[in-house]
Structures are given as structure tokens and as C-alpha cells.
Point group: C2
Chain length 333, copies 2
């Protein structure tokens, strides 16, 4: 588990997009970050107080989180100098970069000398068990998508936030790098060895209070041939009580697969539900989450209304219009 | 690729069962082995000529294959002495043991000094790509099971043997350790990292002649919550033209999951086919393979006849009664 609160390292991010991970952390867990650290010429700003490494420590920060993509996949000397200093001052460092902190000799040496930890969240740090399929206490909700990158993580985060606002017991359970850095823990599912995928999801969502909801971050799609095995492991390892169908309506084809068309929401429902009921016969599809970012407001609302009348399920863009309908549906279960 | 022919190392196997892997190689690819090497007191015999290491070499053997489980998961000193000598004489060594050859310092040193290779087939040796889902030339057949360990490998091997007997173009494509040692190559799918599972199956079954059939070794089951993600990756990475349903009718529950019942063959068909058609819209379920080893002959034949009349599909135990019906169905496609 990565220790919070964080100081967010924005480095020399050329623009806001490069600091997407830091933005996610600041948007979704503002209480987890004391401030941001920006190098000269940084073009990103996530709206937190600017701090030096020393100021961050004084404000209580335990971990420096690299919330920015590095240019060309290389950890530059300018970055390294700052990261080594952070380790010397007493920070741990956490990163979701493709190239690993642990592969940098200077960082490893500085961490060792100063007794600090480097967290490469792309790599599993736990020897996960093989799934045993046993029924667990507590409730679980999983977003399954018509495609990859349609808003499954945001759906889970929005529903979790709405539940906590209502005073309900709720936890967001990350299965990808950004989600892990947002909350400080989780399973980097796409890097888990095949035999242990479903077991890692069981590990992530253990027994809990009967009225507690886990919102499990979805991955891939049953209709995306590159990653459908990962989705399958989430459905069977997560044994969800509730499924939310997630969709992005403006795509021409499946992400990265020009020969493949997106399925309809009905096709997704009819594929996902029987599979989910293998692990949890009580599983229900409770609603639809649509990523409407490429639609005007009227168009988006008409689109959602059409789904509701067609499918008899509540439909919303939880990030744009709120997750109330979806949480109402969970409460009604 | 592991070089053939092999000398099969049976070691000090206490009984036939302990030498199951060697038995599989001798049964399915007798042309790949020049003989067997047995230590004093060995209780197994796969029916090949007994040879010393030197005799094996003289007969053309390139690789010593460890075809026996080791007691207590430890490579004993008695084994090590023989394996080191084999490396010195010029053998490569291949093993599907859980504990790895490469973790034994003496073996690594002997391999290095003598320029030989240690093959631990439980561990992937290739950096597999992410699946691209593109249609490949040639035909592919995949056995999908109601459960794990119901005879999917034997189904593929039987169909491949029958096709080759008929002079058809056919290759068995292993996805597990035993299959890899039988043929000398393949993908240890259960040890592949999640994101690359489907890509590894594409890699295993590349473009081929239009009238060539790959028989892809199945793994797990869509109904086995521990391993269903692996099965899913086979269905989408393999993009099969033909599916054989595989079943073992005498089980009380899913293997290792006492809370889970086996599905019916009809339930398996209805789950697998729509998923397979995502990757290959032309996919057909062409027959049923039943592992009848725990049934009397009359009982088995009645069981198969019942499936045929119920489902309108050819049904056989290909190991007991031959794979002709299944291959006929592929030819008729």
C-alpha cells in the first residue's frame, strides 16, 4: 500500500494532457494530496498549491507520485536529480510509468541507502492466489464496456463518490495504474500472470460488511479480442451483484481494431449477464453509463432517454449528469 | 524450439503415473524419441528401448526431456549428477517441472560451460505481441470444455492424428506444458501475462495454407471461474472456425470448486458460440468429445448416442472410439 498523502510530481509536463494521472488524483482524491511540485517551464497545473519537496514534507506528504508521462519513455537526468533528493529527504516514490523506477540504478541506490520504497504500480507486488470462487460477503458492482476506454473507471469513481456522499459504505477497487495511484492501492490486472487473474480480483475484493459496495474498476471488453480474457477474469473473480453497461457512442470501430464493430448495449447485456451468473446467479444489469463527452447536451440527453425507453434501465453520463440514477438502482436491489 | 529427437528421462519414477509426461510423448510422438533413460529402481516404463546417455546420443538424440515428476518438488543430487553429465555430453535439457532448471546453479553452470540450453517450458520464452484480431489464412479448431481436465488436449491430438492419417494438412498447437514437450514447441498460456494472452495464441497459430488445420489445445473452461479468462483468450486469439465441445460426464462438481456445478453441453454451446463469433462470425460447433474413461463400453455408447440425437452433432470419445466423426465434420465444413 502506497502511503498518503502525496506530493504530486508534475515535472516538466508540456501541457495538461501529459499530467493526466495527477489530474485524476487531484479530481478524485483531493484529500490524498498536499500539493504539486512543478519544474521550471511546466505547462500543467492541477490546481493544488505549488510546493518544494521540503514544503511538501512539512505539510505531511509521505510519497512523491509521478503524475506525468515522461518524454520519450526516458527518466531524464533533470528528473533523476529531484527524485534522488526526494528519497534523501524521506519520501517514497510511486510511478505508473512504463519504464520502471527500479531499473534506474541511481534511484535504487538512493532508496536503499535511505530506507525508502519505490512503487512501480505497473508491476504486481503480490503473489496472488488462484481463484477459489467462494461466495464472499458484501456487495460488488462492475462496469463492463462495449469497448476499451469508454469510461469504466470514471463510472466506478462517480458511483463510489455518490454513495459516500449518501453515507453508504463504499470502496473503489482499482485494477489499472491510474486507479491505483488515485487510491494508493489495487491490482495492476493487465500485468498479472494468466492463472492468477481471477484470484487477484478475489484478493482485491474480500469479504466485507453486508451493506458495503465494492466498485470494481472494469478493464477491456468481452467484445475486444485483445483483452477479453482480462474482462472475463473480472466478471468471474469479481462475482458482481450488479453490472453497469458502459458505452461511448461516437466510435467508428473497436479501439485499435479497425476490422471490428462495437456491439450494441443489448448485445453486451446478453453476453455479459449469463457469464456473470456463473459466478453469481443473483447478478443483475442495473443501468447504463454513457460517455457523452463528444456530444452536445441536448444530443446526449436524447441519447440517454432513448436507451432508457428501449432497455428499461436507468441511463446517465455519471461524470456529466451525476451518478444518482445508478446508485438509486443499487439501493433498490 | 526444442530440438528432437529426445531421450526420455524417467529418473527414479516410483510408478507409471509419475512418468505421465514421458508416456504422453511416447504415445503421441513416438518418432520424436529414440529411447528412455531409467535410473536404478525406476518403476515406470513407456515401452521405448532403454539407453544410456551415450547410447541415446549415438541414436541421434539432441535433448534429454524430463518426463517425470520429481519427488517433493526437489531436483535431487542423484538427478543432478546425470543431468550435468548429459549437458557435458552435448544434450540440451527440457523440463516442465514446477521448480526450474535455471534455478539450479550447477545445471546453469554446466549449460554455460558446454554451450547447451535449458528449456523450462513452464515459463514463456517469447515476448508475445498484443493481439491484433486480424483474420488469418488457414483453418483452426478449438476444443472448449464444460470443465478443466476433461480431455481437450487428447481431443486435439486425436483429431490431428486422424487428419494426418488421411493425408490432410494438420498441426497440433500446444498451450500447456505436456503438449509443449510432446511436440517440442508451443505457448505455456497459463504463465503468460494477461495483456498478451490472446496475442500469444495468434502467434501460435499464424497464417497458413487455406486447407491447413490448426488443432489448438484448449485450457480451462468458460464455466470455471478460476481459469475462464484463459479460455476466453483462446477463443478470441484462436479465432476458431470450428469448436468441439469437450465433456467428462461423471463429475460431481467443477474441478477444485465444490460449490459449482458443471454446465450442460447445451449451456456450453450457447455460451461459447456467440463469444467465438466476435472473432470469427463463421465459427461453427461441429461436434462433441466425451471422455468416457469412467464408463463401461455400452454405457459410453448409449451416452454418445443420446447426445447425437439430442444435439444433432456427432459425438465420440476420440481416444477410445476414434476421431473419424469429428474429422468428417471438419471436412464437411
Amino acid at each position: 500500500m502506497i502511503q498518503t498523502p502525496y506530493l504530486l510530481f508534475l515535472g516538466d509536463a508540456p501541457d495538461q494532457l501529459a499530467a493526466k494521472v495527477a489530474r485524476g488524483i487531484a479530481d478524485w482524491r483531493p484529500e490524498n494530496s498536499v500539493g504539486q511540485f512543478r519544474m521550471e517551464g511546466c505547462g500543467a497545473d492541477v490546481g493544488l498549491p505549488d510546493m518544494t519537496l521540503e514544503e511538501g514534507l512539512a505539510a505531511g506528504a509521505k510519497t512523491l507520485v509521478i503524475g506525468v508521462a515522461n518524454r520519450g519513455g526516458v527518466i531524464s537526468d533533470a528528473w533523476k536529480e529531484i527524485l534522488v533528493k526526494a528519497l534523501q529527504l524521506g519520501y517514497d516514490i510511486a510511478s505508473g510509468l512504463h519504464n520502471l523506477l527500479r531499473d534506474e540504478d541511481e534511484l535504487m541506490a538512493a532508496a536503499r541507502v535511505n530506507g525508502r520504497t519505490l512503487f512501480d504500480v505497473r508491476i504486481p507486488s503480490v503473489a496472488y492466489p488462484i481463484a477459489n470462487g467462494k461466495k464472499r460477503t458484501g456487495k460488488r458492482c462492475l462496469a463492463v464496456g462495449t469497448d476499451c476506454s469508454v469510461g469504466k473507471m470514471y463510472t466506478g469513481l462517480c458511483m463510489d463518490a455518490e454513495m459516500r456522499k449518501r453515507g453508504m459504505k463504499s470502496t473503489f477497487r482499482p485494477t489499472g495504474q491510474t486507479g491505483i495511484l488515485i487510491t494508493g492501492g489495487g491490482v495492476p490486472l493487465d500485468a498479472v500472470v494468466a492463472d492468477f487473474m481471477a484470484g487477484s480480483v478475489e484478493y482485491l475484493t474480500p469479504d466485507n460488511d453486508a451493506d458495503h459496495w465494492d466498485h470494481i474498476e472494469g478493464q477491456g471488453s468481452l467484445f475486444h479480442v485483445s483483452y477479453s480474457g482480462v474482462t472475463m477474469a473480472l466478471i468471474h473473480g469479481g462475482q458482481p451483484d450488479a453490472i453497469v453497461l458502459a458505452h461511448e457512442p461516437t466510435r467508428d470501430h473497436m479501439r485499435g481494431l479497425p476490422e471490428y464493430q462495437q456491439p450494441t448495449l443489448e448485445e453486451l447485456r446478453d453476453m455479459a449477464l449469463p457469464l456473470a451468473r456463473v459466478a453469481n446467479p443473483a447478478c443483475q444489469v442495473i443501468g447504463v453509463s454513457v460517455n457523452t463527452q463528444h456530444m452536445g447536451e441536448d444530443e446526449a440527453k436524447a441519447y440517454l432517454a432513448n436507451i432508457e425507453s428501449r432497455m428499461g434501465l436507468p441511463a446517465t453520463d455519471p461524470y456529466r449528469f451525476g451518478a444518482e440514477k445508478l446508485v438509486d438502482a443499487l439501493e433498490a436491489l
